[in-house]
């Protein structure tokens, strides 16, 4: 079975893109299943289910969804094997732009959209910088010039990735993206595999449920903002 991790900022079009890929895979007789990791609530599983593919949804609740993903992906992989899938597509929302579900030896895809502005690619961390394929969406509503500039900025952030334009609404480009998934490596087991980049350390009192503000309540991994001293006029 081939596992593919798909990540991207909220509302960038991940689900629409995956739906297009799934349709194209079904048309080619490929057995595909979907995993959807989200934080609070999701109804994307109904869309995937309506395409007639097996789906699992995981809600991380008050945990970081990417940390939740790593702790649960092996079980989901087993589920995929039990269903005899050829492809297991795992979608997760990158909420802080710093975590990434990308695993060494597993095809990694990042979905971002043209509306985010030209400087966005540099603001996105390992999710974009360690992806094998970067999918750019919403190209049908911005100017050609902005599309070209945006792709150029994406390339500066991740020069090694393949950059593809896919339209989530019409599905234009989804079949082409699916054809790239066919080259993904096989995944038999993830035990002992490694993430492509560490997830951020988040072990402070607030992770443990603290709500009070103030120095005395801050414990653990605390980092201070560096304010630039400028003369006050």
């Amino acid at each position: 079975m081939k596992l593919v991790t798909i990540s991207g900022p909220p509302s960038s079009g991940k689900t629409a893109i995956l739906a297009g890929v799934i349709r194209s895979m079904i048309a080619s007789g490929i057995k595909v299943g979907a995993l959807k990791y989200d934080c609070l609530a999701t109804d994307d599983d109904t869309l995937f289910r309506s395409l007639g593919v097996p789906v699992q949804t995981g809600l991380s609740g008050n945990l970081c969804p990417d940390h939740y993903f790593v702790s649960n992906i092996e079980e989901c992989l087993d589920w995929g094997f039990r269903h005899g899938l050829d492809f297991l597509l795992s979608e997760s929302a990158g909420l802080c732009n710093r975590c990434a579900p990308h695993i060494k030896g597993v095809l990694a895809v990042c979905v971002i959209d043209n509306l985010m502005g030209a400087t966005t690619p540099k603001k996105i961390g390992p999710m974009l910088k360690y992806a094998d394929i970067v999918v750019i969406t919403k190209g049908d509503i911005v100017s050609q010039a902005e599309r070209e500039v945006f792709a150029f900025q994406v390339r500066r952030a991740n020069p090694k990735a393949r950059i593809m334009h896919v339209n989530g609404i019409t599905g234009q480009g989804a079949g082409e993206l699916a054809s790239q998934f066919l080259h993904a490596p096989e995944t038999t087991c993830l035990d002992g595999s490694r993430l492509r980049f560490s997830m951020p350390a988040a072990l402070c009192s607030y992770c443990l449920g603290e709500t009070r503000i103030g120095m005395e309540h801050q414990l653990g991994n605390i980092k201070r903002i560096k304010l630039k001293e400028e003369p006050i006029s």
């Binding site: 100017s143 500039v149 950059i163 593809m164 980049f197």
Partner: protein, 331 residues
């Protein structure tokens, strides 16, 4: 000399791409006398955790980025002179008996009902399909099968698109906007190109705008004019797809002739008879396939003049309406 052995001062002075690349990660050394490699090694591990990439990844990305920039400047990509579409089949599985040559500087209109397969045709051209898309079409570039790796090259994107839904979303002035595009295309004389594009766009737009106008406050016609002029001069794509040019605020004939002068292969999805007849040929799309290719006949060309006079009469009415006049007499 290896880039890691060169000093920061040398790199920042002679290779501005390096400072742009490092700047994207918020990296800017205070000490410029130190070689890049040593400086990167001196940075603490927590710093790499913060920026979300390790030193090896950063160096690999920088080297790859510089390599691509170098290839872009040396213009190693083969120029596209002609694109050939070899028919596959329509949605019903019927063969498309077509071999269509699209030459630089030509205009082809595309007609057919919504959902008939216009987007698919464009997608096939953009992907340089080799019997590997649902239509089974094959695309040749300069009469040959293109290198499959070119599918992922940003500089070799075959199709640039201009459609009515498109808007500018960046918060910049016209000059900054065009300059940003020119920079990404590694153009030498940026100021000259900006001026040329704005002049040309103003010739297409009914109402003039300046280089300091914010792009988001341009009118529909002005936006379209700027998009067309910008695509004509700065887009690397040889094919330009225009999805219907509205008949307001822009000189459509001039817009087409600008693209033709810039040697673009113009494809125009339209149901406007004037635009359709301005093209040398038109493709009729039906049920997902190219149903027919019609060369614009001599009679049709003659009719174009008649249609244009209808159009001018309508335009005159529109002007009268705008001026607050009564339309009780129609010429």
């Amino acid at each position: 000399m290896n880039i890691l052995e060169r000093t920061m001062a040398d790199l920042y002075e002679n290779m501005p791409q390096v400072s742009l690349f490092l700047g994207d990660y918020g990296l800017d050394p205070l000490e410029r006398g130190i070689p890049l490699g040593l400086w990167l090694e001196s940075l603490p591990e927590e710093m790499y955790e913060d920026i979300g990439i390790d030193m090896r990844g950063l160096v690999e990305n920088l080297e790859e980025y510089l390599l691509q920039q170098q290839m872009l400047q040396s213009g190693h990509l083969p120029a596209v002179e002609e694109i050939t579409v070899i028919g596959g089949r329509d949605k019903g599985g019927n063969p498309e008996k077509v071999r269509l040559n699209l030459k630089r500087g030509s205009v082809t209109s595309i007609v057919g009902p919504t959902g008939s397969g216009k987007s698919r045709l464009l997608a096939d051209i953009e992907w340089m399909a080799q019997c590997d898309t649902p239509t089974g079409r094959t695309i040749l570039v300069n009469g040959e099968k293109p290198d499959p790796e070119l599918r992922f090259s940003l500089e070799y994107k075959l199709v640039a698109q201009l459609s009515q839904n498109m808007n500018f979303v960046m918060d910049t002035t016209v000059a900054e906007f065009v300059a940003m595009h020119a920079e990404s295309r590694m153009v030498d004389n940026i100021e000259g190109v900006v001026e040329e594009i704005v002049t040309q766009a103003n010739q297409l737009a009914g109402e003039p705008f300046s280089t300091t106008t914010p792009v988001t406050s341009l009118s529909g016609g002005q936006s379209r004019a700027l998009m067309i002029a910008d695509t004509a001069f700065l887009s690397s794509s040889p094919v330009v797809l225009i999805d219907e040019i509205e008949n307001a605020g822009i000189d459509r004939k001039r817009a087409l002739s600008l693209l033709v002068r810039r040697e673009k292969i113009v494809l125009m999805a339209t149901h406007d008879p004037i635009l359709a007849l301005m093209a040398q040929q038109r493709m009729v799309i039906r049920n997902g396939g190219i149903h027919r290719v019609i060369k614009t006949t001599k009679r049709e060309k003659e009719n174009l003049a008649v249609l244009e006079s209808f159009d001018n009469r309508l335009l005159a009415l529109r002007t009268r309406l705008r001026n607050g006049e009564l339309i009780e007499e129609v010429p």
